[in-house]
């Protein structure tokens, strides 16, 4: 059978194989123009506007260029920089997938932040609670706990959407705030709090539950960890689920036209709940990856906006699992570079989220880019929602 691309225009024959197809899936658009040129121009334009903002805060052109140089250096300038980019991209791949798979079923998961927090908390709980387990038991348990925690947090909005029609956008946002307060509370309980500390910080994850550094043998400063491999496996699994299984067929049908899906005998209720459980689980996995692979413990705010960034990643990746990887690498690079920019050029890392938001505006409205650069584009604007009544 053939596959429909997210913009509903291209179809990909499954018996195509090799790099050409992979590349097409990566770009997921009718032609290279909408697939690559528009995103590239979107990034360029966003960077230019970002530069203008830096200069408006009192920096000279030279300082601004230095800041951008630091951004570039910090993302791809060295092996360590690339490792940092990959480390930052790892959770973004997962939260991006989380948003993307929900998009496919017609739901907007803004709750990645909360799901990630809860997933991180459950992962860290398993991570420090068991001692003496061999890593091949303990680590999978902790990772699975992360998925489960996020899944529970995703289940609630999915269930409410399915059973009462409560709009998932509002419920997921509220669940984020609840997760923040719950995390703050839990970190001060005897169960989580590190002995001898008064501030909210959890116990350390046992070594047997830590995600091993992939390049630690080569350079101990390279923090890229096994979570990256887990994320990439999740990408392939999500792709397979969406395009090769009856479940994915149902997800996509409900997302494209829930009336038709109901007519075809699919349970829209089941799809809403299941897809939010999976989406929540993926975000929870991201949280697990952070606490087991990077932080080794949990403290308030360890989600660091990764859940929200997932929205940008999914939009830029056009809700295609492979597109999500590309977008996550870009945003991971921006974040890693942004840290370097903040440290060496003294330009705040919050600029990166401004640039990301601008990129999404331009990607969501390709005609805007088309108008600025006089590129002819037939790409239509992204539509995923139908207001409140849907």
């Amino acid at each position: 059978m053939s596959l429909t691309s997210p913009d509903g225009k291209t179809t990909i024959e499954p018996d195509d194989s090799g790099w050409a197809t992979f590349f097409r899936r990566l770009t997921t658009a009718t032609d290279w123009k909408t697939g690559l040129v528009i995103p590239a121009l979107a990034v360029l334009t966003a960077l230019i506007i970002g530069a203008i903002i830096i200069m408006l805060t009192g920096s000279s052109l030279q300082e601004t260029l230095q800041a951008y140089w630091a951004l570039l250096e910090g993302s791809v300038g060295s092996l360590r920089a690339i490792s940092a980019t990959l480390t930052e991209a790892t959770p973004l791949i997962l939260t991006g997938l989380s948003v993307a798979i929900a998009f496919r079923a017609g739901l907007f998961n803004i709750g990645g932040e909360g799901q990630l927090l809860i997933g991180g908390m459950t992962a860290v709980l398993v991570g420090f609670s068991f001692t003496g387990l061999p890593w091949f038991i303990h680590l999978p348990m902790a990772v699975a706990a992360g998925f489960l925690g996020g899944a529970v947090w995703g289940f609630v909005p999915g269930f409410l959407k399915a059973k009462t029609g409560a709009h998932e956008v509002i419920v997921t946002i509220m669940m984020n705030y609840i997760a923040i307060y719950l995390t703050g509370y839990l970190l001060k309980t005897a169960l989580f709090q590190r002995e001898g500390r008064n501030d909210p910080i959890s116990k350390n994850v046992e070594e047997s539950a830590q995600l091993p550094k992939l390049l630690g043998w080569f350079d101990s400063a390279m923090r890229v960890h096994l979570g990256l491999i887990i994320a990439l496996i999740a990408v392939v699994l999500v792709w397979w689920l969406l395009f090769r299984t009856t479940t994915g067929f149902e997800f996509r049908a409900v997302g494209a036209n829930s009336h038709a899906a109901r007519y075809a005998g699919m349970s829209v209720t089941k799809v809403y709940i299941l897809v939010m459980v999976i989406a929540g689980g993926l975000a929870g996995l991201a949280g697990g990856g952070q606490v087991l692979g990077v932080l080794d413990r949990a403290s308030p705010g360890f989600s660091a906006g990764l859940g929200f960034d997932g929205i940008s990643v999914a939009l830029l990746g056009r809700s295609n699992p492979f597109g999500v990887v590309a977008a996550a690498l870009l945003f991971g690079g921006l974040t890693a570079g942004g840290q370097n920019m903040q440290a060496t050029a003294n330009v705040g890392i919050d600029l990166v989220s401004v640039i990301q938001a601008l990129i999404i505006i331009f990607v969501a409205a390709p005609a805007l880019i088309g108008a600025i650069y006089r590129v002819k584009t037939d790409a239509s604007s992204t539509q995923i929602s139908q207001g409140w009544s849907s």
Binding site: T164, V352, I384, W388
Partner: protein
């Protein structure tokens, strides 16, 4: 094979035949569920509150500055809890057995009110609790929520979903404090309003001209404003603390009315932003339902093609409504800085824009309804704040969750019954 059915009686063929009314199964079940909820509330009071209750609760009814000083209200805790539990039990049992039918929702709301009162009395046992100052805080805290809801109503009545209210609040809060620090509060207030308008212009351009998914635009506006204000805050405000130190609008006491006990301090001794909110709610209601502009705006939100066919410019109407909505959002943002603390903190709006959205839905896209809903949210915020000052065995984090939990309950309980404008969220194409 050709049998003809016996013809039903003629009156059933009336053109306007009213369809027979019966209670559907789902209605009966809903009534029973709410009955059970009320009984559970009564049980909660009896099982968890009464055993841990003793002494008297003392409620202050006046604040120190009031002209007329009322004496404190002293309530015996155990006795009043028993009374309230019995009221809840009676209402719940009646609802379960017979149902209040049309008034079920009202009675359910009333029961929650009774429960909240019971809870407050329990929490105040052997302590002091100033009711009036809680109500003053309720009105103040309801202000950004009601204005946020109003911002959403203006946009959505014209058919544009505005989920970027949070960003507009934050943008208004930021520019309000910076301009306010430089040129004074009034100019800061104007700057905050304009900032909201500019952000709304972005929403209008992308939604109306480029037909981008409106929920995406809203989310992006939120991310953009959060990033930009945090960036500017760290780059500029940290180095120049003078820019983050705006005058705060004082509470203005309205002569005579402000001296009425309880009502005076609650409604007639507030800041200009609170008064502005009440005036805006009234004005927008009048404009929407009594003027040409309102008729056209609502028609575009319900059936843009019909409006277009009559020469009403859909784009123009939507632009105006969205920009007005944004300005209201920006004005609301000023409450956070110019209306309360006079300084800006990153992400200080804390989801109030989204709660405003919920208030809009709760209020069925009607400004007055939304104000009522915002009062409920404002009450739950100020309650959680005041309760955290009392010595009760509930962690403050859980009290802080109350407004968000209330929002979820409200949204889950009400969507589907409130009807949004028919063309809400749908880009208009002439074909």
């Amino acid at each position: 094979m050709s049998q003809t059915f016996e013809k039903p009686p003629a009156e059933s063929y009336e053109l306007t035949a009213s369809r027979t009314r019966e209670l559907s199964k789902s209605q009966i079940r809903r009534a029973q569920i709410s009955g059970v909820v009320m009984l559970l509330l009564a049980a909660f009071v009896v099982v968890f509150l009464i055993p841990n209750a003793e002494g008297d609760a003392t409620f202050g009814l006046s604040t120190a500055r009031d002209a007329v000083q009322l004496s404190d209200l002293v309530v015996p805790v155990t006795a009043s809890l028993w009374v309230l539990a019995m009221v809840l039990g009676f209402l719940g049992a009646t609802q379960f057995v017979r149902g209040f039918q049309r008034r079920s929702t009202l009675i359910l709301g009333l029961s929650f009110g009774v429960f909240v009162i019971a809870f407050i009395i329990w929490a105040t046992a052997d302590q002091q609790f100033n009711l009036t100052s809680m109500l003053v805080a309720t009105v103040s805290r309801c202000t950004p929520i009601a204005l946020g809801a109003l911002s959403g109503i203006l946009c959505e009545r014209s058919g544009v979903v505005n989920i970027g209210i949070e960003g507009m609040l934050l943008g208004g809060a930021f520019s309000g404090v910076v301009i306010g620090s430089l040129f004074g509060g009034w100019i800061g207030l104007v700057a905050a309003t304009l900032t909201g308008g500019i952000l709304a212009l972005l929403l209008a351009v992308l939604a109306v001209n480029f037909r981008v998914d409106q929920i995406i635009i809203g989310v992006v506006i939120n991310i953009l404003v959060l990033g930009l204000t945090s960036f500017l805050s760290s780059q500029v405000l940290i180095k120049n603390p003078d820019l983050n130190n705006a005058p705060i609008f004082p509470a203005i006491k309205i002569p005579v009315l402000g001296d009425i006990p309880i009502i005076g301090p609650v409604f007639f001794n507030q800041t200009i932003i609170v008064y502005g909110m009440f005036i805006l709610v009234g004005t927008v209601t009048y404009l929407l339902f009594r003027t040409r502009w309102g008729l056209r705006t609502r028609s575009v939100g319900e059936n843009p093609r019909a409006a277009d066919s009559l020469g009403v410019s859909v784009a123009k109407v939507r632009y105006l409504a969205v920009i007005y909505g944004g300005m209201v959002g920006g004005f609301a943002g000023a409450w956070f800085t110019l209306g309360t603390v006079g300084r800006f903190d990153e992400g200080m709006t804390g989801g109030r824009g989204f709660i405003g959205l919920a208030a809009m839905i709760f209020g069925a896209w009607n400004p007055v309804g939304a104000l009522g809903a915002a009062m409920v949210f404002g009450f739950s915020e100020s309650l959680s704040e005041k309760l955290s000052l009392l010595d009760i065995p509930i962690p403050t984090e859980f009290l802080a969750m109350i407004p968000y939990l209330v929002t979820i309950v409200v949204v889950a309980g009400l969507v589907g019954r409130a009807r949004p404008p028919a063309a809400d969220g749908q880009p208009y194409t002439k074909e």
